[in-house]
Protein backbone atom coordinates (compact mmCIF):
# COMPACT_ATOMS: atom_id res chain seq x y z
CA UNK A 1 0.00 0.00 0.00
CA UNK A 2 2.89 2.22 0.76
CA UNK A 3 3.81 2.01 -2.86
CA UNK A 4 0.47 3.07 -4.06
CA UNK A 5 0.57 6.12 -1.92
CA UNK A 6 3.98 7.01 -3.17
CA UNK A 7 2.82 6.68 -6.71
CA UNK A 8 0.07 9.19 -6.10
CA UNK A 9 2.53 11.70 -4.78
CA UNK A 10 4.53 11.12 -7.78
CA UNK A 11 1.81 12.16 -10.15
CA UNK A 12 0.82 15.05 -8.01
CA UNK A 13 4.22 16.65 -7.86
CA UNK A 14 5.85 15.72 -11.10
CA UNK A 15 3.46 18.08 -12.75
CA UNK A 16 4.68 21.57 -12.17
CA UNK A 17 7.73 22.33 -10.11
CA UNK A 18 9.42 19.02 -10.58
CA UNK A 19 9.10 19.03 -14.30
CA UNK A 20 10.43 22.53 -14.64
CA UNK A 21 13.38 21.89 -12.40
CA UNK A 22 14.07 18.68 -14.27
CA UNK A 23 14.09 20.50 -17.57
CA UNK A 24 16.34 23.06 -16.03
CA UNK A 25 18.82 20.59 -14.68
CA UNK A 26 18.87 18.35 -17.73
CA UNK A 27 18.76 20.95 -20.44
CA UNK A 28 20.16 24.12 -18.98
CA UNK A 29 22.72 24.16 -21.79
CA UNK A 30 19.86 24.50 -24.27
CA UNK A 31 18.52 27.43 -22.32
CA UNK A 32 22.00 28.98 -22.25
CA UNK A 33 22.17 28.39 -25.99
CA UNK A 34 18.84 30.07 -26.59
CA UNK A 35 19.83 33.10 -24.55
CA UNK A 36 23.09 33.49 -26.43
CA UNK A 37 21.28 32.95 -29.70
CA UNK A 38 18.71 35.60 -28.94
CA UNK A 39 21.37 38.01 -27.68
CA UNK A 40 23.32 37.47 -30.89
CA UNK A 41 20.25 38.14 -33.06
CA UNK A 42 19.64 41.39 -31.25
CA UNK A 43 23.23 42.52 -31.35
CA UNK A 44 23.82 41.88 -35.01
CA UNK A 45 21.13 42.01 -37.67
CA UNK A 46 23.25 39.84 -39.95
CA UNK A 47 23.40 37.05 -37.45
CA UNK A 48 20.04 35.54 -38.38
CA UNK A 49 20.84 35.55 -42.08
CA UNK A 50 20.39 32.00 -43.36
CA UNK A 51 23.84 32.08 -44.92
CA UNK A 52 25.35 33.08 -41.63
CA UNK A 53 23.50 30.29 -39.85
CA UNK A 54 24.78 27.78 -42.38
CA UNK A 55 28.26 29.23 -42.00
CA UNK A 56 28.14 28.68 -38.27
CA UNK A 57 27.02 25.09 -38.69
CA UNK A 58 29.72 24.50 -41.27
CA UNK A 59 32.33 26.07 -39.04
CA UNK A 60 31.49 23.96 -36.02
CA UNK A 61 31.18 20.69 -37.88
CA UNK A 62 34.85 19.71 -37.59
CA UNK A 63 35.26 20.59 -33.92
CA UNK A 64 31.80 19.19 -33.38
CA UNK A 65 32.72 15.75 -34.66
CA UNK A 66 35.90 15.82 -32.58
CA UNK A 67 33.89 16.92 -29.54
CA UNK A 68 31.52 13.96 -29.90
CA UNK A 69 34.44 11.60 -29.43
CA UNK A 70 35.78 13.76 -26.62
CA UNK A 71 32.41 13.49 -24.87
CA UNK A 72 32.60 9.71 -24.92
CA UNK A 73 36.17 9.77 -23.60
CA UNK A 74 35.27 12.23 -20.88
CA UNK A 75 32.16 10.29 -19.89
CA UNK A 76 34.43 7.30 -19.35
CA UNK A 77 36.44 9.39 -16.93
CA UNK A 78 39.34 10.17 -19.27
CA UNK A 79 40.50 12.97 -21.49
CA UNK A 80 42.04 13.04 -24.96
CA UNK A 81 44.55 15.79 -25.58
CA UNK A 82 45.80 14.22 -28.79
CA UNK A 83 42.83 15.01 -31.03
CA UNK A 84 44.38 17.98 -32.83
CA UNK A 85 47.69 16.24 -33.51
CA UNK A 86 46.07 13.00 -34.55
CA UNK A 87 43.85 14.99 -36.90
CA UNK A 88 46.95 16.43 -38.54
CA UNK A 89 48.71 13.09 -38.73
CA UNK A 90 45.64 11.47 -40.27
CA UNK A 91 45.33 14.36 -42.71
CA UNK A 92 48.96 14.24 -43.81
CA UNK A 93 49.06 10.48 -44.29
CA UNK A 94 45.75 10.30 -46.07
CA UNK A 95 46.75 13.05 -48.48
CA UNK A 96 49.91 11.09 -49.23
CA UNK A 97 47.80 7.98 -49.72
CA UNK A 98 45.45 9.94 -51.94
CA UNK A 99 48.23 11.23 -54.13
CA UNK A 100 49.98 7.88 -54.29
CA UNK A 101 46.90 5.83 -55.11
CA UNK A 102 44.85 8.41 -56.93
CA UNK A 103 41.82 6.96 -55.21
CA UNK A 104 39.62 8.92 -52.84
CA UNK A 105 38.33 5.67 -51.43
CA UNK A 106 41.82 4.55 -50.47
CA UNK A 107 42.45 7.93 -48.86
CA UNK A 108 39.33 7.67 -46.75
CA UNK A 109 40.12 4.12 -45.70
CA UNK A 110 43.66 5.14 -44.79
CA UNK A 111 42.34 8.04 -42.75
CA UNK A 112 39.90 5.90 -40.83
CA UNK A 113 42.56 3.27 -40.20
CA UNK A 114 45.19 5.71 -38.95
CA UNK A 115 42.72 7.56 -36.74
CA UNK A 116 41.37 4.50 -35.05
CA UNK A 117 44.86 3.03 -34.71
CA UNK A 118 46.05 6.16 -32.91
CA UNK A 119 42.96 6.04 -30.71
CA UNK A 120 43.52 2.36 -30.05
CA UNK A 121 47.07 3.11 -28.98
CA UNK A 122 45.74 5.74 -26.58
CA UNK A 123 43.34 3.14 -25.28
CA UNK A 124 46.11 0.59 -24.83
CA UNK A 125 48.19 3.02 -22.80
CA UNK A 126 45.23 3.92 -20.62
CA UNK A 127 43.60 0.51 -20.22
CA UNK A 128 46.56 -1.85 -20.22
CA UNK A 129 49.41 0.48 -19.31
CA UNK A 130 47.30 2.13 -16.60
CA UNK A 131 48.71 5.51 -17.54
CA UNK A 132 46.61 8.53 -16.62
CA UNK A 133 44.76 9.48 -19.79
CA UNK A 134 46.04 13.04 -19.52
CA UNK A 135 49.65 12.00 -19.78
CA UNK A 136 49.07 9.16 -22.24
CA UNK A 137 47.30 11.42 -24.69
CA UNK A 138 49.74 14.25 -24.00
CA UNK A 139 52.41 11.85 -25.20
CA UNK A 140 50.34 10.99 -28.24
CA UNK A 141 49.78 14.69 -28.85
CA UNK A 142 53.52 15.31 -28.98
CA UNK A 143 54.21 12.11 -30.89
CA UNK A 144 51.57 12.41 -33.61
CA UNK A 145 52.39 16.04 -34.33
CA UNK A 146 56.05 15.18 -34.46
CA UNK A 147 55.57 12.37 -36.95
CA UNK A 148 53.35 14.59 -39.08
CA UNK A 149 56.02 17.31 -39.07
CA UNK A 150 58.65 14.78 -39.96
CA UNK A 151 56.69 13.31 -42.84
CA UNK A 152 55.67 16.67 -44.25
CA UNK A 153 59.02 18.24 -43.40
CA UNK A 154 57.28 20.90 -41.38
CA UNK A 155 55.21 22.13 -44.28
CA UNK A 156 51.82 21.31 -45.70
CA UNK A 157 50.74 18.63 -48.13
CA UNK A 158 48.08 19.16 -50.78
CA UNK A 159 45.76 16.79 -52.54
CA UNK A 160 46.43 16.23 -56.21
CA UNK A 161 43.34 14.23 -57.05
CA UNK A 162 40.40 16.15 -58.38
CA UNK A 163 37.17 15.28 -56.67
CA UNK A 164 38.70 15.01 -53.22
CA UNK A 165 37.65 18.52 -52.34
CA UNK A 166 34.08 17.63 -53.23
CA UNK A 167 33.66 15.79 -49.93
CA UNK A 168 33.62 18.95 -47.87
CA UNK A 169 32.61 21.44 -50.53
CA UNK A 170 29.41 20.00 -51.89
CA UNK A 171 25.95 20.50 -50.57
CA UNK A 172 22.59 18.82 -50.48
CA UNK A 173 19.75 21.31 -50.85
CA UNK A 174 21.96 24.15 -49.64
CA UNK A 175 23.25 22.22 -46.65
CA UNK A 176 26.94 21.45 -46.91
CA UNK A 177 28.10 17.89 -46.54
CA UNK A 178 30.17 18.59 -43.43
CA UNK A 179 27.03 19.75 -41.67
CA UNK A 180 25.20 16.64 -42.72
CA UNK A 181 28.07 14.43 -41.62
CA UNK A 182 28.17 16.20 -38.28
CA UNK A 183 24.45 15.71 -37.76
CA UNK A 184 24.63 12.05 -38.73
CA UNK A 185 27.57 11.48 -36.41
CA UNK A 186 25.72 13.17 -33.58
CA UNK A 187 22.75 10.88 -34.08
CA UNK A 188 24.96 7.79 -34.33
CA UNK A 189 26.93 8.62 -31.21
CA UNK A 190 23.73 9.51 -29.41
CA UNK A 191 22.23 6.15 -30.26
CA UNK A 192 25.46 4.39 -29.32
CA UNK A 193 25.59 6.09 -25.95
CA UNK A 194 21.96 5.90 -25.00
CA UNK A 195 20.58 2.88 -26.77
CA UNK A 196 23.35 0.33 -26.62
CA UNK A 197 25.19 -1.65 -24.03
CA UNK A 198 28.47 0.04 -24.88
CA UNK A 199 27.13 3.45 -23.90
CA UNK A 200 25.74 2.14 -20.66
CA UNK A 201 29.11 0.63 -19.83
CA UNK A 202 30.92 3.88 -20.58
CA UNK A 203 28.73 5.77 -18.12
CA UNK A 204 29.15 3.01 -15.54
CA UNK A 205 32.89 2.98 -15.74
CA UNK A 206 33.14 6.75 -15.62
CA UNK A 207 31.06 6.78 -12.49
CA UNK A 208 32.52 3.88 -10.52
CA UNK A 209 35.17 1.81 -12.21
CA UNK A 210 35.48 -0.78 -9.49
CA UNK A 211 31.76 -1.39 -9.33
CA UNK A 212 31.71 -1.62 -13.11
CA UNK A 213 34.37 -4.32 -13.00
CA UNK A 214 32.47 -6.18 -10.30
CA UNK A 215 29.39 -5.92 -12.50
CA UNK A 216 31.27 -8.14 -14.93
CA UNK A 217 31.90 -5.35 -17.41
CA UNK A 218 35.06 -5.79 -19.45
CA UNK A 219 36.37 -2.44 -18.41
CA UNK A 220 39.58 -2.71 -20.44
CA UNK A 221 37.78 -3.48 -23.66
CA UNK A 222 35.32 -0.69 -23.11
CA UNK A 223 38.20 1.75 -22.67
CA UNK A 224 39.88 0.50 -25.81
CA UNK A 225 36.59 1.00 -27.59
CA UNK A 226 36.17 4.49 -26.20
CA UNK A 227 39.55 5.77 -27.34
CA UNK A 228 39.34 4.00 -30.69
CA UNK A 229 35.95 5.57 -31.29
CA UNK A 230 37.38 9.00 -30.44
CA UNK A 231 40.20 8.34 -32.90
CA UNK A 232 37.77 7.24 -35.57
CA UNK A 233 35.73 10.41 -35.16
CA UNK A 234 38.92 12.46 -35.33
CA UNK A 235 39.71 10.82 -38.64
CA UNK A 236 36.27 11.73 -39.98
CA UNK A 237 36.98 15.31 -38.94
CA UNK A 238 40.41 15.06 -40.56
CA UNK A 239 38.89 13.99 -43.87
CA UNK A 240 36.55 16.96 -43.80
CA UNK A 241 39.27 19.42 -42.87
CA UNK A 242 41.69 18.11 -45.45
CA UNK A 243 39.11 18.00 -48.16
CA UNK A 244 37.80 21.45 -47.32
CA UNK A 245 41.14 23.14 -47.95
CA UNK A 246 42.52 20.36 -50.15
CA UNK A 247 45.58 20.43 -47.92
CA UNK A 248 46.72 20.10 -44.37
CA UNK A 249 49.57 21.80 -42.58
CA UNK A 250 51.72 19.67 -40.35
CA UNK A 251 52.61 22.67 -38.22
CA UNK A 252 49.55 24.84 -37.89
CA UNK A 253 46.50 22.66 -38.49
CA UNK A 254 44.64 21.21 -35.55
CA UNK A 255 46.28 23.54 -33.07
CA UNK A 256 44.31 23.83 -29.82
CA UNK A 257 41.48 21.68 -31.09
CA UNK A 258 41.66 19.75 -27.85
CA UNK A 259 40.91 22.88 -25.85
CA UNK A 260 37.96 23.83 -28.04
CA UNK A 261 36.58 20.32 -27.96
CA UNK A 262 36.94 20.00 -24.20
CA UNK A 263 35.41 23.42 -23.69
CA UNK A 264 32.42 22.42 -25.82
CA UNK A 265 32.00 19.20 -23.86
CA UNK A 266 32.09 20.94 -20.50
CA UNK A 267 29.85 23.78 -21.62
CA UNK A 268 27.52 21.00 -22.69
CA UNK A 269 27.32 19.90 -19.08
CA UNK A 270 29.53 16.82 -19.02
CA UNK A 271 31.35 16.36 -15.76
CA UNK A 272 35.16 16.48 -15.92
CA UNK A 273 35.47 13.30 -13.88
CA UNK A 274 33.12 11.26 -16.00
CA UNK A 275 29.91 9.33 -15.54
CA UNK A 276 27.65 12.25 -16.15
CA UNK A 277 26.80 14.19 -19.27
CA UNK A 278 24.95 14.10 -22.54
CA UNK A 279 25.69 14.00 -26.24
CA UNK A 280 22.94 16.54 -26.83
CA UNK A 281 24.68 18.82 -24.37
CA UNK A 282 27.89 18.66 -26.35
CA UNK A 283 25.98 19.42 -29.53
CA UNK A 284 24.71 22.65 -28.04
CA UNK A 285 28.04 23.37 -26.40
CA UNK A 286 29.64 23.25 -29.83
CA UNK A 287 26.98 25.56 -31.22
CA UNK A 288 27.54 28.04 -28.39
CA UNK A 289 31.24 28.18 -29.18
CA UNK A 290 30.45 28.57 -32.87
CA UNK A 291 28.11 31.46 -32.24
CA UNK A 292 30.73 33.11 -30.02
CA UNK A 293 33.37 32.92 -32.71
CA UNK A 294 30.94 34.12 -35.32
CA UNK A 295 29.77 37.05 -33.22
CA UNK A 296 33.30 38.05 -32.40
CA UNK A 297 33.91 38.38 -36.14
CA UNK A 298 30.62 40.12 -36.81
CA UNK A 299 31.06 42.64 -34.02
CA UNK A 300 34.72 43.44 -34.63
CA UNK A 301 35.92 42.99 -31.08
CA UNK A 302 39.50 44.26 -30.75
CA UNK A 303 41.73 41.31 -31.65
CA UNK A 304 43.75 41.47 -28.48
CA UNK A 305 40.58 41.43 -26.40
CA UNK A 306 38.80 38.61 -28.21
CA UNK A 307 40.24 36.02 -25.86
CA UNK A 308 38.94 37.99 -22.93
CA UNK A 309 35.42 38.29 -24.29
CA UNK A 310 35.30 34.64 -25.30
CA UNK A 311 36.61 33.45 -21.94
CA UNK A 312 34.13 35.63 -20.12
CA UNK A 313 31.13 34.42 -22.09
CA UNK A 314 32.13 30.77 -21.70
CA UNK A 315 32.39 31.21 -17.96
CA UNK A 316 29.08 33.01 -17.78
CA UNK A 317 27.44 30.29 -19.87
CA UNK A 318 28.75 27.62 -17.52
CA UNK A 319 28.02 29.65 -14.40
CA UNK A 320 24.50 30.07 -15.56
CA UNK A 321 23.95 26.35 -15.81
CA UNK A 322 22.54 24.26 -13.04
CA UNK A 323 25.24 22.52 -11.09
CA UNK A 324 25.18 19.85 -8.41
Amino acid sequence: MANLELKEYNQQTSTTKTRLSWLWSEYSVIIAFLIIFIAASIMSPRFLDINNQLNILMQVSIIGIVALGMTVVMLSGGIDLSVGSVLVLVGVISVLALNASGSIFVAILTALAIGSAAGFLNGLMVAKGRIASFIATLGMMAGARSIALYIAEGGSVSGKVSGFTAIANSDLWLIDYPIIIFLIMTVLVYVLMHKTRFGRYVYALGSNEKAALLSAIRVDRVKLGVYSLAGLLVSVAAIIETSRLNSISSSSSGVQYELDAIAAVIIGGTRMTGGRGKIIGTFFGVLILGILNNMMNLMNVSPHLQGFVKGLIIIVAVLFQKRE
Binding site: N52, Q59, G154, S156, R244, L245, S249, S252, L298, P303
Partner: protein
Protein backbone atom coordinates in the same frame (compact mmCIF):
# COMPACT_ATOMS: atom_id res chain seq x y z
CA UNK B 1 28.52 41.58 -21.51
CA UNK B 2 30.02 43.14 -24.57
CA UNK B 3 26.78 44.44 -25.97
CA UNK B 4 26.80 47.95 -24.61
CA UNK B 5 30.35 48.87 -25.47
CA UNK B 6 30.38 47.39 -28.91
CA UNK B 7 26.98 48.09 -30.36
CA UNK B 8 28.27 51.29 -31.89
CA UNK B 9 30.64 49.59 -34.28
CA UNK B 10 27.89 47.20 -35.27
CA UNK B 11 25.18 47.88 -37.75
CA UNK B 12 26.45 45.85 -40.64
CA UNK B 13 27.10 47.40 -43.98
CA UNK B 14 24.94 50.28 -44.81
CA UNK B 15 24.92 50.97 -48.48
CA UNK B 16 27.12 54.03 -48.33
CA UNK B 17 29.77 52.86 -45.83
CA UNK B 18 32.65 50.78 -47.03
CA UNK B 19 34.05 47.97 -45.00
CA UNK B 20 37.26 45.99 -45.20
CA UNK B 21 37.87 42.63 -43.62
CA UNK B 22 41.25 41.75 -42.16
CA UNK B 23 42.03 38.11 -41.45
CA UNK B 24 45.23 37.41 -39.53
CA UNK B 25 46.72 34.59 -37.49
CA UNK B 26 46.63 35.05 -33.74
CA UNK B 27 49.47 36.62 -31.79
CA UNK B 28 51.66 33.71 -30.77
CA UNK B 29 54.94 35.52 -31.18
CA UNK B 30 56.17 39.07 -31.02
CA UNK B 31 56.30 39.77 -34.72
CA UNK B 32 52.73 38.68 -35.26
CA UNK B 33 51.61 40.62 -32.20
CA UNK B 34 53.17 43.75 -33.65
CA UNK B 35 51.66 43.07 -37.06
CA UNK B 36 48.16 42.70 -35.65
CA UNK B 37 48.65 45.91 -33.76
CA UNK B 38 49.85 47.77 -36.86
CA UNK B 39 46.89 46.50 -38.84
CA UNK B 40 44.42 47.65 -36.25
CA UNK B 41 46.05 51.06 -35.93
CA UNK B 42 46.03 51.60 -39.69
CA UNK B 43 42.41 50.48 -39.93
CA UNK B 44 41.43 52.86 -37.15
CA UNK B 45 43.18 55.71 -38.90
CA UNK B 46 41.34 54.97 -42.12
CA UNK B 47 38.09 54.87 -40.21
CA UNK B 48 38.77 58.32 -38.85
CA UNK B 49 40.00 59.83 -42.09
CA UNK B 50 37.88 58.05 -44.70
CA UNK B 51 35.05 56.59 -42.65
CA UNK B 52 35.87 53.07 -43.76
CA UNK B 53 34.67 50.39 -41.36
CA UNK B 54 36.77 47.31 -40.68
CA UNK B 55 36.47 43.86 -39.15
CA UNK B 56 39.58 42.18 -37.81
CA UNK B 57 39.68 38.42 -37.15
CA UNK B 58 42.35 36.16 -35.66
CA UNK B 59 42.79 32.44 -36.24
CA UNK B 60 44.99 29.80 -34.63
CA UNK B 61 44.82 27.33 -37.49
CA UNK B 62 44.06 27.30 -41.22
CA UNK B 63 40.60 25.87 -40.76
CA UNK B 64 39.61 28.62 -38.36
CA UNK B 65 40.96 31.14 -40.83
CA UNK B 66 38.83 29.63 -43.57
CA UNK B 67 35.88 30.04 -41.20
CA UNK B 68 36.80 33.67 -40.60
CA UNK B 69 36.90 34.34 -44.33
CA UNK B 70 33.47 32.75 -44.71
CA UNK B 71 32.20 35.15 -42.09
CA UNK B 72 33.80 38.09 -43.86
CA UNK B 73 32.34 37.12 -47.22
CA UNK B 74 28.90 36.75 -45.74
CA UNK B 75 29.22 40.27 -44.33
CA UNK B 76 29.72 41.60 -47.85
CA UNK B 77 32.96 43.38 -47.04
CA UNK B 78 34.37 45.45 -49.86
CA UNK B 79 37.94 44.22 -49.65
CA UNK B 80 39.84 41.61 -47.69
CA UNK B 81 43.36 41.68 -46.28
CA UNK B 82 44.62 38.22 -45.43
CA UNK B 83 47.82 36.88 -43.98
CA UNK B 84 47.43 33.18 -44.76
CA UNK B 85 48.55 30.87 -41.96
CA UNK B 86 49.39 28.34 -44.65
CA UNK B 87 49.67 29.19 -48.31
CA UNK B 88 48.42 25.86 -49.61
CA UNK B 89 45.49 25.61 -47.23
CA UNK B 90 44.22 29.11 -47.85
CA UNK B 91 44.56 28.92 -51.63
CA UNK B 92 41.04 27.54 -52.21
CA UNK B 93 39.78 30.11 -49.75
CA UNK B 94 41.42 32.85 -51.79
CA UNK B 95 39.64 31.47 -54.82
CA UNK B 96 36.37 31.75 -52.96
CA UNK B 97 37.05 35.41 -52.24
CA UNK B 98 37.86 36.01 -55.86
CA UNK B 99 34.69 34.20 -56.94
CA UNK B 100 32.70 36.41 -54.59
CA UNK B 101 34.13 39.39 -56.45
CA UNK B 102 35.91 40.81 -53.44
CA UNK B 103 39.35 42.36 -53.95
CA UNK B 104 41.98 40.49 -51.97
CA UNK B 105 45.26 41.78 -50.56
CA UNK B 106 47.60 39.06 -49.40
CA UNK B 107 50.23 39.88 -46.80
CA UNK B 108 53.52 38.12 -46.18
CA UNK B 109 52.83 34.71 -47.69
CA UNK B 110 51.71 34.12 -51.25
CA UNK B 111 48.84 31.91 -52.33
CA UNK B 112 49.44 29.16 -54.85
CA UNK B 113 47.04 30.61 -57.39
CA UNK B 114 46.32 34.06 -58.76
CA UNK B 115 43.39 34.89 -56.53
CA UNK B 116 45.21 37.79 -54.93
CA UNK B 117 44.59 41.22 -56.35
CA UNK B 118 47.71 42.55 -54.67
CA UNK B 119 50.44 40.83 -52.71
CA UNK B 120 52.43 42.73 -50.09
CA UNK B 121 55.22 40.62 -48.80
CA UNK B 122 58.60 40.57 -47.26
CA UNK B 123 61.29 38.30 -48.56
CA UNK B 124 61.65 35.36 -46.21
CA UNK B 125 64.02 33.46 -48.40
CA UNK B 126 65.93 36.69 -48.92
CA UNK B 127 66.54 36.88 -45.19
CA UNK B 128 68.22 33.51 -45.29
CA UNK B 129 70.13 34.31 -48.47
CA UNK B 130 71.31 37.73 -47.30
CA UNK B 131 72.26 36.35 -43.91
CA UNK B 132 74.18 33.61 -45.64
CA UNK B 133 76.10 36.11 -47.71
CA UNK B 134 76.85 38.15 -44.62
CA UNK B 135 78.17 35.07 -42.82
CA UNK B 136 80.43 34.04 -45.66
CA UNK B 137 81.84 37.50 -45.89
CA UNK B 138 82.34 38.06 -42.17
CA UNK B 139 83.76 34.59 -41.51
CA UNK B 140 85.87 34.58 -44.60
CA UNK B 141 84.21 31.39 -45.72
CA UNK B 142 85.34 29.37 -42.73
CA UNK B 143 83.79 28.62 -39.35
CA UNK B 144 81.30 26.85 -37.13
CA UNK B 145 77.81 28.23 -37.22
CA UNK B 146 74.70 27.63 -35.10
CA UNK B 147 71.21 28.16 -36.46
CA UNK B 148 68.24 28.98 -34.22
CA UNK B 149 65.05 28.44 -36.18
CA UNK B 150 61.43 29.27 -35.55
CA UNK B 151 58.85 26.61 -34.78
CA UNK B 152 57.94 24.44 -37.75
CA UNK B 153 56.08 26.70 -40.21
CA UNK B 154 56.47 27.96 -43.75
CA UNK B 155 58.32 31.06 -42.53
CA UNK B 156 60.88 28.94 -40.73
CA UNK B 157 61.19 26.71 -43.73
CA UNK B 158 61.82 29.56 -46.20
CA UNK B 159 64.31 31.43 -44.05
CA UNK B 160 66.09 28.18 -43.30
CA UNK B 161 66.15 27.21 -46.96
CA UNK B 162 67.69 30.49 -48.06
CA UNK B 163 70.35 30.27 -45.40
CA UNK B 164 71.16 26.65 -46.17
CA UNK B 165 71.52 27.29 -49.88
CA UNK B 166 73.80 30.24 -49.25
CA UNK B 167 75.91 28.18 -46.88
CA UNK B 168 76.27 25.39 -49.39
CA UNK B 169 78.11 27.72 -51.70
CA UNK B 170 80.98 27.79 -49.23
CA UNK B 171 82.34 24.50 -47.97
CA UNK B 172 84.38 26.01 -45.16
CA UNK B 173 81.35 26.89 -43.13
CA UNK B 174 79.70 24.17 -41.10
CA UNK B 175 76.29 24.40 -39.41
CA UNK B 176 77.03 22.46 -36.25
CA UNK B 177 73.63 22.74 -34.61
CA UNK B 178 70.16 23.70 -35.74
CA UNK B 179 67.51 23.89 -33.05
CA UNK B 180 64.16 25.56 -32.67
CA UNK B 181 63.77 28.60 -30.44
CA UNK B 182 60.02 28.80 -31.12
CA UNK B 183 60.23 32.52 -31.93
CA UNK B 184 60.53 32.99 -28.18
CA UNK B 185 63.27 34.81 -26.30
CA UNK B 186 63.06 32.55 -23.24
CA UNK B 187 63.11 29.35 -25.24
CA UNK B 188 66.06 30.51 -27.34
CA UNK B 189 67.96 31.40 -24.20
CA UNK B 190 67.58 27.86 -22.90
CA UNK B 191 68.30 26.23 -26.20
CA UNK B 192 71.40 28.33 -26.72
CA UNK B 193 72.64 27.55 -23.20
CA UNK B 194 72.47 23.87 -24.03
CA UNK B 195 74.09 24.32 -27.42
CA UNK B 196 76.92 26.26 -25.81
CA UNK B 197 77.44 23.28 -23.54
CA UNK B 198 77.58 20.86 -26.40
CA UNK B 199 79.99 22.90 -28.52
CA UNK B 200 83.19 24.31 -27.15
CA UNK B 201 83.79 26.46 -30.19
CA UNK B 202 81.22 28.45 -32.10
CA UNK B 203 82.00 31.28 -34.49
CA UNK B 204 78.62 32.82 -35.16
CA UNK B 205 74.91 32.36 -34.62
CA UNK B 206 72.16 32.82 -37.19
CA UNK B 207 68.73 33.37 -35.68
CA UNK B 208 65.55 33.59 -37.69
CA UNK B 209 64.03 36.29 -35.53
CA UNK B 210 65.20 39.29 -33.52
CA UNK B 211 63.43 38.13 -30.36
CA UNK B 212 65.40 34.93 -30.49
CA UNK B 213 68.63 36.82 -31.13
CA UNK B 214 68.11 38.54 -27.79
CA UNK B 215 67.77 35.19 -26.02
CA UNK B 216 70.92 33.91 -27.70
CA UNK B 217 72.76 37.08 -26.72
CA UNK B 218 71.75 36.59 -23.09
CA UNK B 219 72.89 32.96 -23.10
CA UNK B 220 76.29 33.87 -24.48
CA UNK B 221 76.65 36.69 -21.97
CA UNK B 222 75.79 34.39 -19.07
CA UNK B 223 78.16 31.70 -20.22
CA UNK B 224 80.91 34.31 -20.60
CA UNK B 225 81.93 32.83 -23.91
CA UNK B 226 84.35 34.82 -26.02
CA UNK B 227 84.59 32.61 -29.10
CA UNK B 228 81.37 33.80 -30.71
CA UNK B 229 82.08 36.67 -33.05
CA UNK B 230 78.57 37.78 -33.92
CA UNK B 231 74.85 37.04 -33.96
CA UNK B 232 72.36 38.00 -36.63
CA UNK B 233 68.64 38.44 -36.32
CA UNK B 234 65.70 38.98 -38.60
CA UNK B 235 62.76 41.34 -38.50
CA UNK B 236 64.10 44.68 -37.35
CA UNK B 237 63.19 44.92 -33.68
CA UNK B 238 63.97 47.96 -31.61
CA UNK B 239 66.00 46.10 -28.97
CA UNK B 240 68.23 44.60 -31.66
CA UNK B 241 68.84 48.02 -33.20
CA UNK B 242 69.80 49.30 -29.78
CA UNK B 243 72.27 46.48 -29.31
CA UNK B 244 73.81 47.32 -32.65
CA UNK B 245 74.17 50.95 -31.76
CA UNK B 246 75.99 49.94 -28.58
CA UNK B 247 78.42 47.79 -30.55
CA UNK B 248 76.83 44.63 -29.18
CA UNK B 249 77.26 41.11 -30.37
CA UNK B 250 74.28 41.38 -32.68
CA UNK B 251 75.87 42.90 -35.73
CA UNK B 252 73.22 42.53 -38.37
CA UNK B 253 69.55 42.00 -38.89
CA UNK B 254 67.43 41.73 -41.99
CA UNK B 255 64.30 43.79 -42.30
CA UNK B 256 61.02 42.04 -42.19
CA UNK B 257 58.87 44.70 -40.71
CA UNK B 258 55.44 43.95 -39.32
CA UNK B 259 54.43 47.39 -40.57
CA UNK B 260 54.13 45.94 -44.07
CA UNK B 261 50.53 45.22 -43.14
CA UNK B 262 49.89 48.96 -43.04
CA UNK B 263 50.55 49.17 -46.74
CA UNK B 264 48.25 46.23 -47.30
CA UNK B 265 45.42 47.83 -45.37
CA UNK B 266 45.87 51.08 -47.24
CA UNK B 267 45.82 49.28 -50.57
CA UNK B 268 42.70 47.39 -49.50
CA UNK B 269 41.00 50.67 -48.64
CA UNK B 270 41.79 51.98 -52.11
CA UNK B 271 40.47 48.82 -53.72
CA UNK B 272 37.33 49.01 -51.61
CA UNK B 273 36.71 52.48 -52.92
CA UNK B 274 36.90 51.01 -56.39
CA UNK B 275 40.44 52.01 -57.16
CA UNK B 276 42.68 49.93 -59.41
CA UNK B 277 45.87 48.43 -58.06
CA UNK B 278 49.02 50.23 -59.20
CA UNK B 279 51.21 47.17 -58.85
CA UNK B 280 50.33 43.52 -58.30
CA UNK B 281 53.27 42.74 -56.10
CA UNK B 282 54.81 44.88 -53.38
CA UNK B 283 57.98 43.29 -52.06
CA UNK B 284 59.58 44.64 -48.92
CA UNK B 285 63.23 43.88 -49.34
CA UNK B 286 65.07 41.94 -46.68
CA UNK B 287 67.38 44.91 -46.31
CA UNK B 288 70.48 44.27 -44.31
CA UNK B 289 70.74 46.58 -41.31
CA UNK B 290 74.11 46.97 -39.64
CA UNK B 291 75.72 49.60 -37.48
CA UNK B 292 76.25 51.73 -40.58
CA UNK B 293 72.63 52.19 -41.49
CA UNK B 294 70.88 51.47 -38.22
CA UNK B 295 69.92 55.07 -37.54
CA UNK B 296 67.82 55.14 -40.70
CA UNK B 297 65.60 52.41 -39.39
CA UNK B 298 65.57 53.03 -35.66
CA UNK B 299 62.29 54.31 -34.27
CA UNK B 300 62.24 54.79 -30.48
CA UNK B 301 58.43 54.70 -30.45
CA UNK B 302 58.17 51.31 -32.14
CA UNK B 303 56.46 48.51 -30.26
CA UNK B 304 58.42 45.83 -32.04
Amino acid sequence: ACSSSKSSSDGGKKDDTLKIGISLPSATHGWMGALIDSAEKQAKELKKSDGIEYVLTNATDPNKQANDIDDLISQDVDAIVMLPIESAALTPVGQKIKDAGIPLVIVDRELENDAATVVVKGDNEGIGVNAGKYFIEKLNGKGKVVEITGPPSSVTEQRGKGFKEAMESSDGIEVIASQSGDFSTEKSLEVMQNILQANSHIDAVFTQDDGMALGVLQAIKEAGRKDIQFITGAGGGKAVFENMKEDGLITATFLYSPTMVKDAVKIAADLAKGGKPTEKMVVKEATQVTKENVEEHYDPESKF
